[in-house]
Symmetry: C2
Subunit: 434 residues, 2 copies
């Protein structure tokens, strides 16, 4: 059974704090194995990739077949039914339109001292996207990672996707094609991350690696961080629904289950100001769990990590939600915009009962790669900003240097950095001579 809490109970604070601190995922310690794999790929390049792919994916490759050829891609994507192709294209168009609005602007101005100041944004040159194989091989994730990179202007975008026993997901390849991906390699695991970070004879190295993966992939990304940039290390998915008594309990139940079905470690939380609504949702969850295809997973998640919290009013709901800092937050209330104003920490907000979280997973437009495990307190979902970087600009004139240079010299000397001071002083002396 999920946790049932009433915010007015005497022991609520203790129980809520326990809920916040609950550890939902035990990552196996695979760091030594991963270190060995990375070292192997760095030393032996393609040969190591081929050997490890034979071992883990039961697939014999050659340097020539590491990468999907255009013909292979064309053949696979031709298998995708029209309905799915059209759905992917609609999703891609909407994701692209949303992310194009995120492109940051350059700035340059001259201040009162006469100094030219500003910054310029440039794209990462090459990025790599990890796509899991097998069941968790989601074409929607390909769109969500690849489109922001291409909108940012990344010139070379490579995908690595394991194909256990040679089985490739045509939808993944189609999503890659629609998103404009440049290269697709049939490799996975820590070895694929190592190939992207360090390069091999066949795989050119990239500057940034994003995308979800299992414990080996996560450990490999942590290890190559610094050599390349990485995105966040995502934990199991979460949803928090704030609903009032007029919301539709069946809809809310399905929304809670749509996170729970991802993973036994996923977490679904309902906060409502109506005890009757809480009961109705719980009943609807149980009813749906009887027939749901992934009922084993969703049931375990709901039982182990689900929570239903009854509060006196919606302000209190917002307050508790901010302490959770959920990845996904649905506001199924009469005035969702007003309630949203009170939300300070959340990855994504879905406003009103007509906005199921699943819309955001596929076709809403915003990214579905979002901060998990309460990290919305300090981080954001994936965006165009993850594929650009800022170069700051400064340009002194003689007058500007005369105005602010002496202060720099003073501070340099106070920090015992003499050459810093001298580099300013030499120019100021020249100005005094002129």
């Amino acid at each position: 059974m999920p946790v049932f809490l009433n915010a007015t109970d005497a022991d609520f604070e203790t129980a809520f704090t326990a809920l916040l601190g609950a550890k939902r995922e035990d990552s196996p310690d695979v760091d030594d194995v991963v270190a060995g794999i990375i070292a192997d790929v760095r030393t032996r390049g393609d040969a190591a990739l081929i050997e490890l792919t034979a071992k883990f994916d039961r697939l014999e490759l050659t340097p020539q077949t590491l990468r999907f050829s255009p013909d292979e891609i064309a053949e696979l994507v031709a298998q995708v039914p029209a309905e799915e192709r059209e759905a992917l294209e609609l999703a891609a168009a909407r994701i692209r339109a949303y992310h194009e609005k995120q492109l940051p602007e350059d700035a340059y101005w001259t201040d009162e001292a006469g100094a030219g100041l500003g910054w310029r944004w440039t794209p990462v040159s090459a990025a790599g996207l990890y796509v899991p194989g097998g069941l968790a091989s989601y074409p929607s994730s390909v769109l969500m990672n690849a489109i922001p990179a291409k909108v940012a202007g990344v010139e070379r975008l490579a995908i690595v996707v394991p194909t256990p026993d040679g089985a490739a997901n045509p939808l993944v390849l189609l999503a890659a094609q629609i998103a404009g991906v440049d290269e697709i390699y049939r490799i996975g695991g820590a070895q694929a991350v190592a190939a992207l970070a360090y390069g091999t004879e066949t795989v050119q190295p990239v500057d940034k690696i994003t995308g979800p993966g299992n414990a080996f992939v996560a450990a490999a990304k942590r290890r190559v961080f610094g050599k390349v940039g990485i995105d966040m290390i995502a934990g199991p998915s979460e949803i928090l629904v704030i609903a009032d008594g007029d919301a539709n309990p069946d809809w809310v139940a399905l929304d809670l289950l749509s996170q729970a079905e991802h993973d036994e470690s996923a977490q679904s939380i309902l906060i409502t100001d109506s005890a009757d609504f809480a009961k109705a949702v719980t009943a609807a969850v149980e009813r749906n769990l009887e027939t749901l295809e992934r009922r084993a997973i969703a049931g375990a998640s709901w039982r182990d990590f689900g929570a239903v919290i009854v509060v006196d009013d919606l302000d209190r709901a917002a307050e508790l939600s901010n302490r959770v800092a959920p990845e996904h937050l649905e506001l199924c209330v009469a005035d969702p915009d007003a309630l949203a104003e009170k939300i300070t920490h959340a990855g994504a907000i879905f406003l009103g009962g007509w906005t199921p979280e699943a819309i955001g997973d596929y076709v809403g437009g915003p990214n579905h790669v979002l901060p998990t495990a309460r990290s919305a307190r300090f981080s954001s979902g994936l965006s165009v900003m993850d594929f650009v970087k800022r170069t700051t600009l400064a340009k002194m004139t003689p007058a500007a240097l005369r105005a602010i240079g002496p202060a720099a010299e003073t501070l340099a000397n106070s920090e015992s950095l003499q050459a810093h001071g001298l580099s300013v002083r030499a120019r100021l002396d020249q100005l005094n001579e002129d």
Copy 2:
């Protein structure tokens, strides 16, 4: 002697690649020690902090003296001479003005389908800033870390700064005061990072930790990453100067030395299209090294990691600089703006001979916390963006859901996520009934 390369030599590519790959820093492996310290602070809180501070900083504290009192701060900052205070205030005002322009804007729009889409930025609630003790205790770094946090709207900003043998740097406290820091603790090392991340009886936990530190601090930041956000792990400083034959060799020499004096692992590189200029700079570096206070450090850096590269033309210089992706890039050429257009990877650009890098360290306005070790390929300097996070917004209407819901349902089913599909279908069915 530094490396001398001519870009037209036959073996240039090999030598340049070696320069790019040179490992300048051997971080001692302190991870086990740090893991123990963090566990100790998590378990014993203040008692562990007090014990570790006695051990490492030879300073006896109590829970009451862990934090500087307002009186202590007032007494210390009163010691700062007027000239230094004024210099810090000028620097703070300029840094604040620059960073205020970085505040990102919220967005909300309605698209053709009738869907409301957008995002909202909110500040991190609480941030902690690590300030090294002793020689590397730089008041300028306090300004560069604290001001962006305060501009972002961080409500609670705490500083940790070790005070070995009880010695505090009045300039650091003054910089903190000017920047609006809320709390200052006299603790350092991995134990201070642990206290900020997990909290103790006296130190409330924060959501994000930034600031430079030694190997122990860096290892601790890596370890608490995920529990809290962290900034980049900075490596030794670097400068690359592109200069033409008309630049001032003495100025350029001092600019190269102003990085070299930071650290024996710092790196200073000159690229020029004039062999004569290269010689003149090298001579000026040697001349200045005779009298520089930090000549032992600067000399070692220049000898071990310095490089002088002669190229045929400035386009080639830009190309090589982009491969280095330097932290600091000075363009001491006749038309620095034109050359800057060709730069794709650099932390900060200093345009023209009147802009010594040292201006950027103190009073220019842009941040001096910048990506090192070639990470300007994929990351940016510290900014207001490090202290805010984005919540995406989506709001469907019945019409919008009718338009895009079916595609979401199709994709959910193609990914075998039935509850996702049902959560959309339940609403679409309702619409069909209405």
